[in-house]
């Protein structure tokens, strides 16, 4: 497998990812894009604010990519997360993988986003009209 593309960025350009994952031996590319949703529990979200412990986040994202490449037969992997203020409909995360057949990249893509959400030190604050909340901080 080629060296995974692992990045924390200020802004995500979703048109980049096809070129990054495209590979002559791959018959399938699977990509997940996470974006800002307008409502949380019927409350209107103004924006999301992301912050990270970048050094550790990159290390954890590399571990996740490595684990995925051990579990599935992949050619390329992208794990990219944005930080800063993001407005409704803006992309905040993009993960993806390419493989010879679709099963590998589908399963790997799900694993990449699910594990990122559990382990990577990135924090999201939901900003509503009258308050803001750090997501998942309290039970």
């Amino acid at each position: 497998m080629e060296k995974p593309i692992i990045e924390i960025v200020d802004m995500i350009d979703t048109s980049q990812v096809y070129g990054e994952l495209s590979h002559a031996s791959s018959g399938g590319i699977c990509v997940f894009v996470g974006s800002v949703r307008e409502f949380t529990n019927n409350e209107e979200v103004v924006s999301l604010e992301f912050e990270t412990y970048a050094k550790m986040a990159i290390k954890e994202m590399e571990k996740i990519a490595m684990e995925a490449s051990n579990k599935w037969a992949l050619h390329k992997i992208v794990v990219r997360h944005a930080v800063g203020v993001k407005n409704v409909q803006e992309p905040v995360v993009v993960v993806g993988a390419s493989s010879a057949h679709r099963d590998d990249c589908f399963e790997a893509c799900r694993f990449l986003i699910d594990t990122l959400k559990q382990k990577v030190p990135i924090w999201k604050k939901e900003v509503f009209k009258n308050k803001s909340v750090w997501v998942s901080a309290h039970p």
Binding site: G34, F50, E51, T52, Y53, K55, M56, A57, K59, H81, V92, V93, I113, L116, K117, Q118, K119, V120, P121, I122, W123, K124, K125, W134, V135, S136, A137, H138, P139
Partner: protein
């Protein structure tokens, strides 16, 4: 002993970092650091989880803290 704070941990303490070297008994392990935080700032005890990273790796409670370590408080993560 500098400790980095992120997300809600930064809001609880009111600062992005904290210097513990002036404490009479600075915490000598991850577990002691967590105990110090929950004792000094009860809001830490109300979080879903509380993790500590030493030199940018998740560290269990038994891990010793040494001078020069980069220590960070990792409140519940919520990327994606």
């Amino acid at each position: 002993m500098e400790v980095l704070l992120f997300g809600i941990a930064k809001d609880i303490v009111g600062s992005a970092q904290m210097d513990l070297s002036e404490l009479k008994h600075p915490p000598s392990s991850v577990g002691e650091l967590k105990g110090f935080l929950c004792g000094s700032f009860p809001e830490f005890g109300k979080l879903t989880s509380l993790a500590v990273a030493v030199n940018s790796e998740y560290a269990q409670d038994a891990v010793a803290l040494k001078t020069g370590d980069e220590i960070a408080i990792i409140p519940p993560v919520s990327g994606g």
